[in-house]
């Protein structure tokens, strides 16, 4: 079913996990010796960044499936995956800027590889929607968008690699301590936040797909009952279409 019990259960599980994760971050995880209370931003910023980047790769994988099978549903999945990852990307940039301001006294630092590489990935994907919108023919739009999603998706792991290889480690490193690794209580809180964020992504992904499928079905039904005049011209859109 579209808005079925499984989606409701998933949404409930997401709400519980995200709330638990944030509660653990504030009340269970110890205060960071170096950054103090401001390090709590880590529990929302980093999971969001990881899930956003994974979402871009996920969109690329869906696009591979679309090119392999030619089925529009894979294009829809890829589109929604990238769309949601972009929304999370906005959150990552905003929370990252807030953390930078609190930590370094500046909203943005151009010589910081983590920030700049994420911005490059974000701006790359910001071209995805305009690219789709610029192509009127639905089949061509879906194919070109899939090629874009695959190439850009392959570029995303380079983001991690570039940051790891960069020498200027100015970005707050909270994954590693002098003893090596995150303290267990911090690690647990972080993992729960990460799982919560991943569940939120999956829930919203399924929700948006269900919504778009409902929209397509309603349109098809309207056409069936009232003919083409009842539906009207859909016009140019960046969103994929399941109907021919």
């Amino acid at each position: 079913m579209l808005y079925g019990k499984r989606l409701t259960a998933l949404a409930l599980l997401t709400a519980v996990t995200v709330t638990t994760g944030f509660a653990l971050a504030f009340f269970y995880a110890p205060m960071d010796a170096d950054q103090g209370f401001m390090q709590k931003i880590f529990y929302v910023h980093v999971p969001m960044a990881i899930v956003a980047l994974c979402g871009f790769v996920f969109g690329g994988i869906m696009a591979v499936q679309h090119l392999r099978t030619g089925e529009p549903r894979w294009d829809l999945r890829s589109y929604v995956a990238i769309h949601l990852a972009l929304i999370l990307g906005v959150g990552v940039l905003l929370t990252g800027s807030i953390w930078a301001r609190a930590s370094w006294g500046q909203w943005w630092v151009w010589d910081e590889p983590t920030l700049v590489s994420f911005l490059i990935v974000f701006l790359l994907y910001a071209c995805y929607q305009p690219l789709r919108f610029s192509i009127e023919d639905r089949d061509r739009q879906a194919r070109y968008a899939s090629v874009f999603a695959i190439v850009a998706g392959a570029f995303v792991p380079l983001n991690f690699l570039a940051v790891r290889l960069a020498q200027a480690y100015v970005h707050p490193r909270v994954f590693a301590t002098s003893q090596g690794g995150l303290p267990p209580r911090m690690a647990l809180a972080f993992l729960v936040c990460l799982v919560g964020m991943a569940l939120l992504y999956v829930t919203l992904w399924r929700y948006e797909i269900a919504s778009k499928q409902t929209s397509f079905r309603l349109r098809a039904l309207k056409r069936k009952l009232g003919g083409d005049d009842a539906v009207g011209d859909r016009g140019r859109s960046a969103a994929p279409s399941l109907t021919a």
Binding site: G36, F37, K40, I41, M48, L94, I98, W99, K222, G226
Partner: protein, 61 residues
């Protein structure tokens, strides 16, 4: 005596509010889409009623 708030509480609150605001805006947009679906469903019901009535009227007596 109330305990003092930790340093940088404003920045931390702002970061979590950004996350909350993003989710809320998304949910509001999805809710508006749901409302549109419900409107379209009503239109379809009316259209189906008209089609059924039109079919009956055309049936030979």
């Amino acid at each position: 005596m109330t305990p003092a708030l930790p340093d940088n509480v404003g920045y931390v609150a702002a970061a979590y509010l950004v996350f909350l605001a993003l989710v809320l805006v998304y949910v509001v947009i999805m809710a508006s889409r749901l409302a549109r679906h419900q409107r379209e469903l009503l239109e379809l019901e009316e259209l189906a009623d008209r089609t059924v009535r039109g079919g009956r009227e055309r049936e030979p007596v």
